[in-house]
Amino acid sequence: MSSPSLTLPSPAPAAARKRRLLEILGAVAIAGTYIYLVLNQPADITGGPGSASALIALSGFLAGAILLIVAVLPTLPASTVVLIPVALVLNIVLGQFVGSTLVPFYLDAIGTVLIAVLAGPAAGAATGALSSIVWSFFNPTVLPFAAGAALIGCLAGLAARHGMFRRFYLAPVAGFLTGIIGGVVSAPVAAFVFGGTSGVATGAIVSAFRSMGDTLLAAITKQALISDPMDKAIVFTVVAILVYALPGRARLQFPFIRRYRVLAGQAPKQGC
């Protein structure tokens, strides 16, 4: 597959440093926005227009996601960049279908997690963020979740690197944990930008918590803690099934899989 060019000079260390800086800035933007929203818990979600916090959530998360894309995308090998559109299409085709049905799941991250397992956390994060941005061409409501999707991709890649896909029963566990983190990060977006959820089934769960007197942010966070871990556990399991069903030739073409021995039953062989 693609290898570093033998004839062209490798990128200068200054460029690498700039990318690293952008990566850090992106992560700081996302984390800072989240901390601001949770600490300030603007009382204005239900008590007023609430658009100041919506704007902060939107701009902070979106800027962070874009910085991450700018930092990561140029560093990925061409074989990964070519796979990203494929992952995006898988996300959109499966997510668009499930999102509008009466199941409180989303299943909109199968492509992102697949890339993360095949090509690593950086590729997963870029795919997650890009997926939200490109998908917003058909469904603008997914745009604010770009940062959450990037986080899911990054965590899935880290799980794969640390061998969570080597044992089949560990994949859903990793998905469950990823879902907890992803859900907690995405909940303020749903609360501040949408004032609710974008699906009927998830809305029913939020209503249940609201009827017990929870604030909107608390109700949506609890809903996310119910839906997201289950959702990501299913997604990780589906991806594990898919990856193990691929023939060795297809999966071993990815350096990340060979280098970190992501999957069980394959000793790192030389020259494949």
Binding site: M1, S2, S5, L8, P11, P42, D44, T46, P49, G50, S51, A52, L55, S59, I69, V70, L73, P74, P77, A78, S79, V81, V82, L83, P85, V86, V89, L90, I92, V93, Q96, S100, L130, V134, F137, F138, N139, P140, T141, F194, G195, G196, T197, S198, G199, V200, T202, G203, A204, V206, S207, R210, S211, D214, I241, L242, A245, L246, A250, Q253
Partner: protein
């Protein structure tokens, strides 16, 4: 004259930002009406309306259910069944949010359904956006129908081999696997071939690219874009300042 794709993007984006910042339902409803009028005028209404309905109907229903039935902060009770309390404030909040989101969604969809993707990609690369982003965008939008067609072919092939989807979770999962594995495998194979083709054409080489696609632009549109960007920024600043001043 055709609008430059970045001009329409700026128009849609700043409309979305200003509507969110203003958070007043008359403006939101007006923007929704304007967006629909533009899409009828451009001739994309037939494709846009179903796409918008798919997004907005579940969203609206969900908001109505969450806030219409349960709104602990509500004072004016219109009706009550057990734990569910329909309050004036809840309905008003749901309506306000639905109108605001509807305006944003319609404004952005009018842009994405009327923009010519090759023009947008050319304009983005001319502005120094990395070629890879343009590749991902264009490639996804063109792959989508092709992959949807492939899903259909794989389903037909598996059905001709005797795949019958029976009720039950396990059967459904097995059927999903029978269709998903060939799909993902063929997509990864294709991507490998495409990588080789792109690499041999210098896809990952650094340096400037020559574009053979000229997107007409004018000084007036450049000014318009700047005005739109400034007004979006001003709306955000005003909203933040007001919310701070108001407590």
């Amino acid at each position: 004259m055709r609008l430059h794709p970045l001009t329409s993007l700026a128009a849609a984006g700043s409309t979305a930002v200003v509507t969110t910042a203003a958070a007043s339902w008359p403006l939101s409803v007006a923007v929704m009406g304007a967006a629909l009028a533009v899409s009828v005028r451009v001739g994309t209404a037939r494709r846009l309306l179903p796409a918008a309905a798919v997004v907005l109907l579940p969203l609206g229903l969900s908001l109505l259910m969450v806030h219409g039935l349960f709104f602990p902060e509500g004072r004016t009770v219109l009706g009550q069944w057990g734990p569910a309390r329909v309050t004036m404030e809840g309905l008003a909040f749901a309506f306000e949010r639905a109108a605001q989101l509807g305006a944003v969604v319609l404004a952005l969809l009018v842009f994405s359904f009327s923009v010519s993707v090759p023009d947008l990609v050319a304009a983005l690369s001319a502005r120094g956006v990395h070629g890879r982003f343009a590749f991902v965008l264009a490639s996804t939008l063109t792959l989508l129908p092709a992959i949807a067609a492939r899903v259909e072919r794989i389903r037909q092939a598996q059905e001709s081999r005797g795949l019958v989807i029976r009720p039950g979770l396990l059967h459904r999962a097995a059927a999903f696997r029978l269709q998903a594995v060939p799909l993902v495998l063929s997509l990864i194979e294709d991507a490998g071939t495409r990588t080789a083709a792109l690499e041999s054409r210098g896809f990952s080489n650094p340096g400037p690219r020559t574009s053979y696609r000229e997107v007409p632009d004018s000084g007036r549109q450049r000014v318009l874009r700047a005005v739109l960007a400034v007004s979006a920024g001003a709306a955000v600043a005003a909203r933040l300042w007001l919310s701070r001043a108001g407590g």
